[in-house]
Symmetry: C2
């Protein structure tokens, strides 16, 4: 059954003993929403905890103090935030997968898997929905506002991406008015990179191939590159977005050598080329602007294969 954020708020106020779930490979939006909701519920006198998420990176550790459920917590009600489908539950949440009573989310692809579903796909971040709900309760303190600012800012690339709306900015203004250190959050999430990550980006620039007058970029990260820089998996996170910022590039391909003879390709395209069609030719798929596929072979083999696929889609549409 679909509910509004007001109905969701009332449903929560009438109950107690909440366990809040986040999605696998959790980002700032799912964690920020869960932390904010947990703290706002506690301000209403409720018992609320987050289910620990085994995938959470240390980037979010500072926000998680005091909100992770102890092993012996027996919840009465299960709430999911920013989780579009049951396939996105982390391993730790598998036992609760079919027991979610309230789901709050902003993904257009949300599968309405809970008993009550509050889904607002026009919101850039799920944090905007939690904000509206918490504001009704009069619970917008700084300790609730900070994780909500993390949610809203990270899901919009600090108000940079095209999902950012006037509402996003208005929410940010009200969150800042509680006195939170928004600049500190921005520094941590948007203006800090590891030494290894920056070396990795430098390595990509050195080895990148440009085709078609610089409109196609073929970047690669080999196992040897990763080893030489002592890079960990997290240093390469979201590295596919890196070459997309290159002036003039319309199609950005990033090739990761996962094992000798196995390459994972990420393809980002502008409106004139469908990345999903390109990757489908190599057995992959995804969205029109961002897709992926796997090529068995060397990095050179992968480059030739993806260039061939791009040419074919350019020719035949």
């Amino acid at each position: 059954m679909d509910v509004t954020y007001r109905e969701a708020g009332c449903w929560l106020l009438e109950r107690d003993g909440f366990l809040i779930l986040t999605h696998k490979r959790p980002d700032g939006d799912t964690l920020g929403c869960a932390i904010a909701l947990c703290k706002a519920l506690r301000a209403q006198g409720k018992t609320a905890w987050l289910l620990p998420n085994e995938d959470a990176t240390t980037l979010f550790t500072p926000y998680l103090d005091g909100v992770l459920a102890p092993a012996d917590f027996r919840p009465e009600h299960i709430v999911a935030v920013d989780i579009a489908s049951q396939g996105l539950f982390p391993a730790s949440a598998q036992e609760w997968k079919d027991k979610v009573e309230l789901s709050i989310d902003h993904h257009p692809s949300n599968e309405h898997f809970a008993q009550y579903n509050c889904v607002e796909p026009d919101k850039a971040a799920c944090g905007e929905i939690i904000f509206a709900l918490v504001q009704e309760w009069g619970s917008l303190t700084a300790e609730v506002a900070l994780p909500l600012y993390v949610a809203v800012s990270t899901d919009t690339g600090c108000f940079m991406y095209s999902n950012t709306s006037p509402n996003t900015h208005r929410v940010a203004a009200q969150l800042m008015e509680t006195g939170i250190d928004a600049a500190g959050v921005n520094k941590r999430h948007f203006r800090t990179k590891s030494y290894v990550r920056l070396r990795l980006e430098g390595r990509i620039m050195e080895t990148m191939e440009l085709h078609d007058d610089g409109q196609i970029a073929l970047a690669s990260i080999t196992l040897a590159d990763m080893a030489a820089l002592h890079a960990r998996e997290e240093d390469a996170e979201d590295i596919a977005a890196f070459t997309g910022q290159l002036e003039g590039v319309r199609t950005a391909v990033t090739i990761r050598e996962l094992a000798p003879g196995e390459c994972k390709l990420s393809v980002r395209t502008g409106a004139e080329l469908n990345a999903s069609k390109v990757c489908a030719l190599l057995g992959g798929g995804g969205h029109a602007a961002a897709s992926g596929c796997t090529v068995m072979g060397s990095v050179e083999t992968a480059k030739a294969a993806i260039l061939g696929a791009i040419r074919q889609v350019q020719k035949n549409g």
Copy 2:
């Protein structure tokens, strides 16, 4: 005489024939404000033009269509936007330097050099003042809102810097509601880098020295680096900010070899070290968090000199 933005607005409505000045090495705030004010004045039936600024880079060319004063324009009134002092007038504006009747600015250091000065130092961008003024006129159309969005977003690093306030976000919300392509502006100004710039950043990472467990970064760009990458001066713009994003770095020094035997140093520091004191030891100066100096000698000489100066300030305060 000091005036409010409302008084400035009335003053403008009572007059006609405006020439609008921008500061030397113009950024998005000064140009965005001038363009927006020019278009808003025209919407009020006025004649208004921008004085062409010889320092304006091509980054801003798309916004300047139709607003640059023809050579034969004889203004009746001179307005300055985002210009803190007469020392910041570009060469082209020298003849108007002592003739500015209205100055609108947000810099705390503004020298109130005009006949009427509207200075609001609590605003992150001068664009926030122009926004308030234009809104009073009811002139907030998309063509006025777009340059104001450029002004506000570029002066706050897309709402990332600590100068960003709740008002900044509320202004952004209202600008976006006119239907402007804010995401397009963000892509152009914050998510696009030239190939050469990215190679230059990679080169910095390769050659950078870290001291004191990674808390001090000494980066350098030699004449040979610039030549090898066919880099132009604009590719190195604001490059001093680059190593500041490195995780763990508290003091970031960027050394530019300007000529054989002449190095320009930019020093960025955290709260525990005064960059101005460090640079003063080498004949330079600036602000507590960002200063600069020149060292006559090789890059290696400059490195040794700045490390010595840092040690001395660390020791003696």
